[in-house]
């Protein structure tokens, strides 16, 4: 069976969930071979093997942390040369897309970004994309070269499928471009202890209606009662009430959770672009005419300062 390369997104050896989802999708089109780079690369092997990786190609060098993107492209290109895969799958993070694009160009292949589903087809893998703020669904293929496809988080359920996961060292020679963009400083993001926004099963968001940074405590309390991640509209972010990393929408994160709860958010097209594929959508808004109500499975027309605390209390009571 043909092998499929899966680029591993990990933090010091801890594999992030979107990569495990990719392994599930990769098994639909071939045998997954994982590529893990940088500090902790070898420690990813156990988790990758448990989810179907037959082999894990690893390489560590200071370049991966000290320079932007290109060293990783060099390594992935070396992996493509070594494996001759039927396809290359990369998580659709900002960096993942850049790595995938440069790789595609180098190996003479087309690229599809932000797939939300993947299946085997007669002429190679067929990717589903959700486009124009999720108002259309398209099916596309890479028609030249080895398909390079980036896949959004939450596109498949993670499935255990134990495989050998044999660790093999990948030989990498860095290109002249590898050291072009230096990372001169890095401030890690502080963990809030809440789930990752793009990976969370439930997202609770606040918008301009929250009316102040101090009031985001209400949104956080509801999120915590449900074990959810916190999101924000761009209006709330631009006002400085919540960090940009939590912005949901076209220029923020796109989320596709089981449940999305929008509080004090009108539902502008750019916000919808980031949350419209959520399975169940709920909104609290005092304006019955707000466009967000066109999307909801359940909506409450009311003041969020009344509705949200009551909901939080009720969730806590019911959860005991």
């Amino acid at each position: 069976m043909a092998e499929v390369l899966v680029y591993v997104d990990h933090v010091d050896g801890a594999v992030r969930k979107p990569t495990l989802e990719l392994l599930t999708l990769a098994r639909r089109i071939g045998e997954p071979v994982a590529v893990a780079l940088g500090a902790g690369a070898e420690s990813t092997a156990a988790a990758l093997a448990e989810h179907g990786a037959t082999r894990v190609l690893t390489h560590d060098a200071a370049e991966y942390a000290d320079y932007l993107v290109v060293p990783k492209v060099d390594a992935l290109q070396a992996a493509v040369a070594a494996v001759s895969p039927a396809a290359v799958l990369v998580p659709s993070s900002a960096e993942g897309k850049e790595i995938a694009a440069r790789l595609a160009l180098r190996i003479g292949s087309g690229i599809i970004t932000d797939a939300v589903d993947l299946e085997a087809g007669d002429e190679g893998p067929v990717a589903t994309q959700s486009v124009f703020a999720a108002s259309f669904s398209t099916k596309s293929r890479v028609s030249k070269g080895t398909p390079v496809i980036t896949v959004k988080p939450n596109s498949a359920a993670v499935e255990a499928a134990p495989a050998a996961g044999a660790v093999e060292a990948l030989a990498v020679t860095f290109s002249a471009q590898a050291t072009g963009t230096k990372v001169t400083g890095r401030t890690p993001r502080e963990s809030t202890g809440r789930p990752e926004l793009t990976e969370a099963a439930i997202v609770v968001s606040g918008g301009r209606g929250v009316n102040g940074a101090e009031n985001f405590g209400l949104i956080e309390a509801l999120a915590d009662s449900l074990g959810a991640a916190v999101g924000a509209s761009r209006a709330a972010v631009d006002a400085g009430w919540y960090p940009h990393t939590n912005q949901v929408g076209q220029t923020g994160k796109s989320v596709s959770p089981q449940l999305y709860i929008a509080n004090g958010i009108s539902g502008a097209i750019q916000h919808r672009a980031g949350m419209q594929t959520s399975k169940t959508i709920v909104a609290v808004n005092k304006d019955a005419e707000a466009p967000i109500f066109d999307l909801v499975d359940y909506g409450v027309v009311g003041d969020l300062f009344d509705v949200v605390p009551q909901l939080t209390e009720e969730v806590k009571t019911r959860k005991g």
Partner: protein, 262 residues
């Protein structure tokens, strides 16, 4: 010293309009109004700020690859303050995918001459967010992308890239390709004076032959990807909407419990 900046700007269908596909599964650009992709306004803005903060002689060229109407996007950028414009237009470009688009842009950038390329973080239609990285690869220069802060001094570009796991400080020597996010600073509105001045600024038109490109390298036929189908998502069925009369939170909890979320 002089600094030549090329800003890549895309002409896109208005996101608030009824965007859809034509019969050949390319974007229907006839039925929907087009405009300068809003995210590229941030790229123009940063070019203008780099120019304003520089002792060097800075020349800003805006470049678009797109149909006849794409001139509107160039006019908008010129009225914001860019100096001149290049429009790459050719019937054979219809249906070009991202690998082809980056080829055309790279050829035009090389022909125009540049020290710095500035792009937006993503277009508002294709939203791939990969053209800047592809341009860096094609031009063989550093990519300094997704910056929420950017500055240029003494032949070096510096910036801040806010990622999921960390915020990074980046640095590269010119020539380089930069992309900026919508966090980089509000884009200015064209002034009346700017709009009048833009009418007199030069707009060059190039076609594929001007860039030594063949029709088969671009367009729908030359594409490296193929779209097999495009289906409109069914409108969501109307949900339940209740008015809060004191029990709204409890009613919502009841709904969530019924859906097994609690």
């Amino acid at each position: 010293m002089s600094l030549r900046i090329v800003v890549t700007v895309k002409y896109v269908p208005d996101a608030t309009g009824d965007r859809h596909f034509a019969d050949d599964l390319t974007v229907d650009r006839d039925d929907v109004d087009g405009l300068l992709s809003e995210l590229d306004e941030y790229a123009v803005e940063q070019a203008l700020q780099i120019s304003e903060n520089s002792d060097d002689d800075v020349e800003i060229t805006v470049l678009t690859v797109g149909p006849e109407d794409a001139k509107d996007a160039l006019r908008k950028a010129l009225s914001m303050g860019a100096d001149k414009a290049i429009h790459v237009e050719d019937d054979d470009l219809h249906g070009t995918d991202v690998i082809g688009t980056s080829l055309v842009l790279a050829k035009a950038i090389e022909k125009a001459g540049y020290d710095l390329v500035i792009s937006g973080l993503a277009s508002t239609d294709g939203t791939m967010g990969v053209v800047p990285a592809l341009l860096a690869e094609r031009l063989g220069v550093p990519q300094v992308t997704l910056l929420s802060e950017v500055s240029v001094e003494d032949g070096t570009v510096k910036g801040r890239r806010d990622g999921d796991a960390a915020s990074e400080q980046l640095e590269a020597s010119l020539p380089a390709v930069v992309s900026v996010t919508d966090q980089s600073g509000e884009a200015r509105y064209p002034s009346f004076k700017g709009i009048m001045a833009a009418k007199k600024k030069p707009v060059q038109s190039w076609d594929l032959s001007d860039l030594d490109l063949e029709a088969g390298e671009v367009g729908l036929e030359g594409a490296w990807t193929a779209v097999d189908s495009a289906t409109q998502r069914p409108a969501r069925t109307a949900g339940t909407i209740v008015k809060d009369e004191g029990e709204g939170g409890k009613q919502l909890a009841e709904f969530l419990a019924g859906q097994k979320f609690i």
